[in-house]
Point group: none
Chain length 277, copies 2
DNA sequence: CATAAAATGTAACGTAAAGTACAGTTTGCC
DNA sequence: GGCAAACTGTACTTTACGTTACATTTTATG
């Protein structure tokens, strides 16, 4: 009883044939609910046949499916009774090592949001939600994917979203269309990129409202920005973590979507229609 | 669905006849384990007959015993899987001081890494660290930025990294150079994209080792993948959150960098030199 | 490429479990 | 204390679930 079922699976998964491994992965991904349902439901979810599920269960060392379910239930019931020791017992498998990078990233996220006021968030999302203005996104070497991610979502909920990608000279040409009513969101973390700074300066000169998402040491772009959101990025790794910035992006996306709920509903329906054709 | 089963019982227990009340008390005392077992076991433990258990269950408003069990299971799984809806729904009065999306995302991250074994991580990073083979990255509509992010880092630490971007037809042409020793990492979450599935199938046919990073419902690509990493994506937002996937990417990056430390040191120095010129 | 071995799914089976009819028992009321 | 109503258990029926045998497909090997 000392080894949990998830440990058991991790231990044996390499010795399993493909379909059984698929069953294992499905169970881990939906742990433990799917294992409490019937063989048929389990097999359906995993996309394999019932006998495969039974073979999988028997490979784990159980005599029958009900026996396997009982084990799951007991494990589950034990967790519910004492929530605090579930972290201790289950979260650390035998190697004892949890993931330091993950722990650090979570700390960063918490810290980041603690310093983010609801007011600030509201101001920023208001700016991004102004349908009449254009909204530009720009990122640096490692943060540009986050800008892309944000653009992919916001393009769906509102018009006039432009992700400034590619060569620096290409963005520069966009400046001509940018004006007082427009908004520019820049991601910039160490090592801060001169190209972004130059662009931000010119944009600000044209009256563009700049939102900066940066690290805790603040990009020099802060000088030109109307709003600054600072996230923590330090983790025990050769690289910085952009996870906190990523979550800021997701938060902005969610909030803007909420604010534009009515106006975007039609838009989204139209998009779906276009895609179906 | 808002009222839990124990609440339901507390509400109706006064209107129950003696035997059914005994059933109720037994369930509360052994909550919820006994309710997950068979009617016979339940009735035995409570010292009443099976029909009494069934009447008790039907009085709670369930159409059948299995339906009652499903409700119990979901309740239980919800507690274990995502404490965020406890935190968010119960603990918060009405002032939006904290950020529910963030809390949910953190829970997702924790949950995701809890189901990720060190062994699995090791296998995957080993595959990605094989310098002699080529390493391909591919993402879907919203996950492609994560692939980009990962590529941006890995291109620095090892040669032969290709991010399959742009048109589907462009990736397809890359297939010709992909073979048994190569590795393909695919990000695919709901709604799963046919184009990715098709590509993965062809790649697997050519003997490529596929790593899939997906959501908890598992992309159909799991069928072709040698390694599957499932991340949680559900958050209280109109959009799914890819934060957990993002952190998986960062973890892979960090680990691969560590494994290639020696061979990449020279490479990084050379790169820096190139940039300075 | 041929052959054997392993893996996987289909379909049929037996059984355990849920569900039900009904008779026996208890409880409450006049 | 007699009667009716509600409650409860016994015994039986029915459903659906786990299980198994076997045929087909896939993979490994010389």
């Amino acid at each position: 009883m000392s080894t949990s079922i998830s440990e058991l699976i991790a231990e044996k998964i390499d010795a399993m044939p493909a379909s059984e491994r698929r069953a294992a992965q499905t169970l881990i991904a939906n742990y433990p609910l799917i294992g409490l349902r019937t063989v048929a439901e389990f097999s359906g979810q995993a996309g394999v046949s019932s006998p495969t599920i039974l073979r999988f269960v028997s490979r784990l060392g159980f005599q029958s499916y009900p026996e396997f379910q009982s084990a799951l239930q007991e494990e589950l019931a034990a967790q519910v009774q004492s929530p605090w020791n579930r972290t201790a017992t289950i979260q650390r498998p035998k190697d004892g090592a949890t993931f330091p990078l993950m722990e650090a990233a979570i700390e960063n996220i918490r810290e980041t949001f603690q310093h983010l006021s609801a007011q600030q968030l509201d101001d920023v999302t208001d700016a991004i939600s102004r349908n009449r203005s254009r909204f530009y996104l720009l990122g640096g070497r490692f943060t540009d994917p986050i800008a892309t991610y944000m653009a992919a979502h916001l393009k769906i909920v509102r018009p006039g979203v432009t992700h400034l990608a590619g060569q620096e000279s290409q963005w520069r040409d966009q400046l001509i269309d940018m004006g007082k009513k427009d908004v520019l969101l820049v991601f910039d973390i160490r090592r801060y990129q001169d190209s972004l700074l130059r662009f931000a300066e010119k944009a600000q000169a044209r009256g563009v409202e700049i939102v900066l998402v940066t690290d805790q040491w603040l990009s020099p772009i802060a000088r030109f920005a109307r709003h600054v959101i600072a996230g923590r990025t330090a983790v025990p790794s050769p690289w910085d973590s952009s996870a906190a910035l990523f979550l800021i992006a997701e938060t902005l996306i969610a909030e803007v979507t909420r604010k534009l709920e009515q106006s975007s509903a039609d838009r989204i329906r139209d998009l779906e229609q276009l895609r179906d054709n």
